[in-house]
């Protein structure tokens, strides 16, 4: 086991992370991997026709990004619920910052369920916000 079993308290902050600037290649890769070929994510002309200032990232790519802070703990538990509200666009070149804090924790039959309020921002404004419920297997919330 590479990372110790996590134990968070209500109010604990996730260490915020700023990701490298979004590239067009990344959006092309995500389109291929997800099967979402809506051209507003990859083709300039299509984005312009849709009234956007350029191609925008897939909302579901931003949603996936919001799960990144939990990946190191996957050997101890998993994301049981992810809820995301999209509120802004992410453009090529944007540096997305993700973060959050523990808002609740509750014992369940399977282990401790931590609820996090999470967000993604492009530096100027919040582009997505929501909650993540992360189940840590075994034992009550310490």
């Amino acid at each position: 086991m590479s990372v110790p079993k996590p134990a968070w308290n209500v109010g604990d902050e996730l260490e915020s992370r700023t990701l490298p600037p979004v590239t067009r290649l990344q959006l092309i890769k995500y389109a291929g991997a997800s099967g979402d070929y809506n051209p507003i994510h990859t083709v300039d002309e299509a984005a312009e026709e849709a009234g956007l200032g350029g191609v925008i990232a897939h909302g579901m790519l931003t949603a996936a990004t919001m799960g990144l802070p939990f990946s190191p703990y996957l050997e101890h538990g998993y994301i049981r619920e992810l809820e995301v509200r999209f509120s802004g666009m992410v453009y090529v070149g944007d540096e997305v910052t993700i973060g959050g804090h523990v808002s609740e924790r509750e014992d369940s039959e399977e282990g401790c369920v931590y609820t996090f309020e999470v967000y993604a921002s492009n530096g100027e404004s919040t582009v997505a916000s929501g909650t993540v419920s992360f189940l840590v297997f075994e034992g009550p919330c310490s």
């Binding site: 979402d36 579901m60 949603a63 990004t65 990144l68 996957l74 050997e75 998993y78 509200r85 999209f86």
Partner: protein
Amino acid sequence: MKCGYSTSVPFERFIGHCSEPVKNVVEKGAVRKFAEAIGDPNPLYVDEEAAGTSRYGGLIAPPTFPRTFEYGEVEGLGPPGQGYIHGEHRICYERPLFVGEEVSCYVEVTDYYEKEGREGPMGFLISERVGESPEGERIFTMVDTAVLTPAMRENFGL
């Protein structure tokens, strides 16, 4: 009728309509490609050996992976919400999703309503996507809100 709600919305007639279930398989290569594309190549998603000795006993899929499945089409509507603006997404798991397993998927239109926006009426189409094991055990439930702008509504002849 509340102010701002339209009385004759063709989308409303799809509420409660489901697609025929479609069989999907959680493919190892597809999961690896997806994990790399989202910048999260966790060994439990991509490294068979590491995953084999973990509590999961094998590879699992990232939380947003079920978005890649086929859910079928609602007759007369197609895949609900595809190509619209994505407003909200929620996925709830009963258990982790394992690589190699077969998942039966379908989609249901659960609601449609309209609200007056700054540039005209906006439509909100809510759909629920479900993944079940071949034995009928539910694995996940996904709820999406698709937003139709006034221009998109016009394209649909609303």
